[in-house]
């Protein structure tokens, strides 16, 4: 059907360098293998993310109320936190724009980068919610930290199964106006991690 397809592939076959001269290197695990919470928190802070403060007697709800006192719509994508609205109640991707704080659980984080992973499985098929909400609170277990990008891509099955998978490393940011770093550009204005253990 596509003649351009065949023409492109033929031209590539005619023009390419000798494949035998360019073998594929084996996959490697390189770098620091520390998958500790301290390394993660340090990286998270570099990228502008925060750890949601847990005071004596705090629940997630009280911690959120203290951190985001003006929030009206707190949307939950997890079964063990109530919020003011459940993510399943948002009918369209656009409706997520009304959310002030989204609470979601991440299956793993990456210590090297302070990144957390989210896919449609955690976002209950409403991927836009992670980006249209003003603030995001991510529940994470220190047991689910992987050391670095190599270990993440090699060990986590999600990269092979999810249709949509995002590594968020701190909040949305830009430095496009005269090099001034601004946290909270077009996506989430803040990203906070809540340790659940």
């Amino acid at each position: 059907m596509s003649t351009s397809r065949d023409a492109i592939l033929t031209r590539l076959r005619d023009n390419r360098p000798d494949p035998k001269a360019h073998p594929l290197p084996p996959v490697a695990r390189l770098g620091d293998m520390d998958n500790g919470q301290a390394r993660f928190e340090n990286s998270l802070q570099i990228l502008g993310g925060q750890v949601l403060e847990r005071q004596e007697g705090d629940t997630l709800a009280t911690a959120i109320a203290r951190r985001f006192p003006d929030s009206k719509v707190i949307c939950s994508a997890v079964p063990d936190f109530e919020g003011t609205i459940r993510i399943e109640e948002l009918g369209t991707p656009q409706q997520a724009a009304s959310v002030d704080v989204l609470v979601v659980r991440s299956p793993f984080g990456i210590a090297e980068m302070g990144s957390i992973y989210l896919s449609e499985a955690q976002l209950q098929d409403l991927n836009s919610a992670a980006h249209l909400t003003q603030h995001i609170v991510v529940i994470l277990s220190a047991k689910n930290l992987t050391a670095n990008m190599h270990t993440a891509y090699m060990d986590r099955p999600e990269f092979h199964t999810a249709n949509y998978g995002v590594l968020m490393s701190g909040p949305s940011a830009t430095a496009d106006i005269q090099g001034v770093l601004i946290r909270g550009a077009q996506g989430v204005r803040t990203l906070s991690v809540w340790w659940e253990d």
């Binding site: 360098p17 360019h22 724009a97 830009t174 550009a185």
Partner: protein
């Protein structure tokens, strides 16, 4: 009529005249280069990462037809519609048809150099599609009717008052706003309604994984994720050279990309698209536009390894002081100077000369492209194809004679000390030497290495020889 070559030197001259802009541009990009160095020094495995990235890319390019077929098969299995475009015109037609089929009249998009290559906005807008760039820098450039001046930071040549003026005109904001924070906030406020009402979204793709049929998009603003997840239609335009074989290879590239680009460990968002989200449709347009031809150029095919980090631009003294727009091309800086002539040899014939041949671009390249060597090779190709401007032809001719004869070269070099200190300024800073216009030549060395060597080492050797 023959197309005129870009007059890079003249455009650069205009940029240099404006000291405030040039100084900021120079310092800002050098700061990115230094941040990149900081990240490099943290990682003992940095050189190994570069070597691996280079080897993976070279392998992929040598096996590109097979990997493209593998990607296509897997992507289709995942529910992605895959299209192939031989050139920009075909790409634009494909995108136009997809939009038409969906009755889409508004398209929000994240930054994609390939769509710039294809002049997609210029094609879609007369056909009734409103295209809105969602990356802040790219949006500023769109409103100002300019090409991106840098592949990572498109509006890096502008200062706050420039942006305030553009936003005032288009967003009716305060023309005297002098806060980057408040201007960025205005962009967020202006973009949200457009994003929420868009019929379709478009992204590029930084990497394409053959093994999984996925593509990976890296941004800091999250605008690609907004463009892809809010409307019910996602089109990704991707150059065919962006492939990597395995998902596990991504570790190498993600660890290098943002560190090389901005000196940050990772972009704020690294998004893996493997199939349409629920209730949505996903299309990938694989664009050739000269790449399959470039793969056959023995001296230049490795430029296809480029992951578009912009490190070569940030480090280049010519780029930093002349600004991206002076290159008159979609791709500027050192990487642009070796890619652009493959699109139009005559039009971009001046660009390989916009270099001091210091080799810094090659040293910072995360995929080890020998950029400065390719710049030199392009100069030879252009000379053979008679695409050299007169002055450069003459200078090259003289340089060739000099370099070819060691005695003549040494006589000339010894002469430079005398020349630099005694020649009147107009001889050194004249129209034959446009780069001399705005900078002083270095102080001449008192003695060349060769004459020092002759004087000292050879003498010592002789002495050793005598005593032995």
């Amino acid at each position: 009529m023959k197309v005129k070559p870009v007059n890079h030197a003249k455009a650069a001259e205009a940029f240099i005249e404006d000291t405030a802009h040039m100084d900021f541009h120079d310092e800002r990009l050098w700061d990115l280069r230094q941040k990149r160095d900081g990240q490099m020094h943290i990682l003992p495995e940095w050189q190994e990462l570069r070597a691996r990235a280079s080897a993976i890319k070279e392998h992929t390019l040598a096996n590109l037809p097979e990997y493209l077929e593998q990607f296509e098969a897997n992507a289709k299995k995942n529910g992605i519609h895959v299209h192939w475009a031989a050139d920009g015109a075909e790409h634009n037609r494909i995108v136009g048809e997809i939009l038409e089929k969906h009755g889409a009249k508004s398209l929000i998009k994240s930054k994609s150099m390939v769509t710039e290559e294809c002049c997609m906005r210029e094609y879609l807008e007369p056909r009734g599609v409103v295209v809105t760039e969602t990356d802040l820098g790219e949006r500023i450039q769109q409103l100002d009717n300019q090409m991106p001046s840098h592949i990572v930071v498109p509006a890096v040549h502008k200062l706050i008052p420039d942006v305030a003026k553009i936003f005032a005109e288009h967003y009716h904001t305060d023309p005297n706003d002098n806060s980057a924070q408040s201007l960025a906030w205005q962009q967020r406020l202006a973009a949200r309604p457009v994003i929420l009402s868009a019929d379709a979204g478009m992204t590029g793709g930084n990497f394409v994984v053959a093994e999984t049929g996925s593509f990976v998009v890296c941004t800091n603003e999250g605008n690609a994720d907004l463009s892809a997840t809010v409307p019910g239609l996602h089109i990704a335009t991707i150059g065919i050279e962006r492939l990597v074989p395995r998902m596990a290879d991504m570790g190498v590239f993600i660890r290098l990309l943002s560190r090389s680009a901005l000196g940050s460990p990772i972009t704020q968002y690294t998004t893996h698209f493997r199939g349409p989200q629920k209730g949505s449709e996903m299309h990938v347009v694989l664009v050739d536009n000269g790449r399959s031809h470039r793969l056959g150029m023995e001296d230049f095919w490795t430029s296809l390894k480029c992951i578009r980090c912009g490190a070569c631009m940030n480090t280049c003294p010519v780029y930093r002081r002349s600004g991206g727009l002076s290159y008159g091309a979609v791709y500027s800086g050192p990487i642009g100077a070796i890619i652009d002539p493959t699109f139009n040899e005559r039009k971009y014939s001046t660009l390989p000369f916009a270099s001091t041949m210091n080799g810094s671009c090659t040293n910072v390249c995360p995929v080890k492209i020998n950029i400065h060597e390719q710049l030199y090779k392009w100069r030879r190709v252009l000379a053979e194809h008679h695409e050299l401007p007169f002055v450069k032809r003459e200078v090259m001719h003289m340089a060739g004679k000099l370099m070819g004869q060691p005695t003549l070269y040494r006589a000339a070099i010894n002469g430079t000390e005398v020349a630099l200190s005694t020649m009147p300024r107009f001889v050194l800073y004249n129209w034959l030497n446009p780069w001399g216009k705005h900078r002083e030549l270095p102080h001449p060395v008192k003695q060349t290495f060769h004459s020092w060597y002759k004087q000292n080492r050879l003498k010592n050797k002789k002495k050793e020889g005598e005593s032995a």
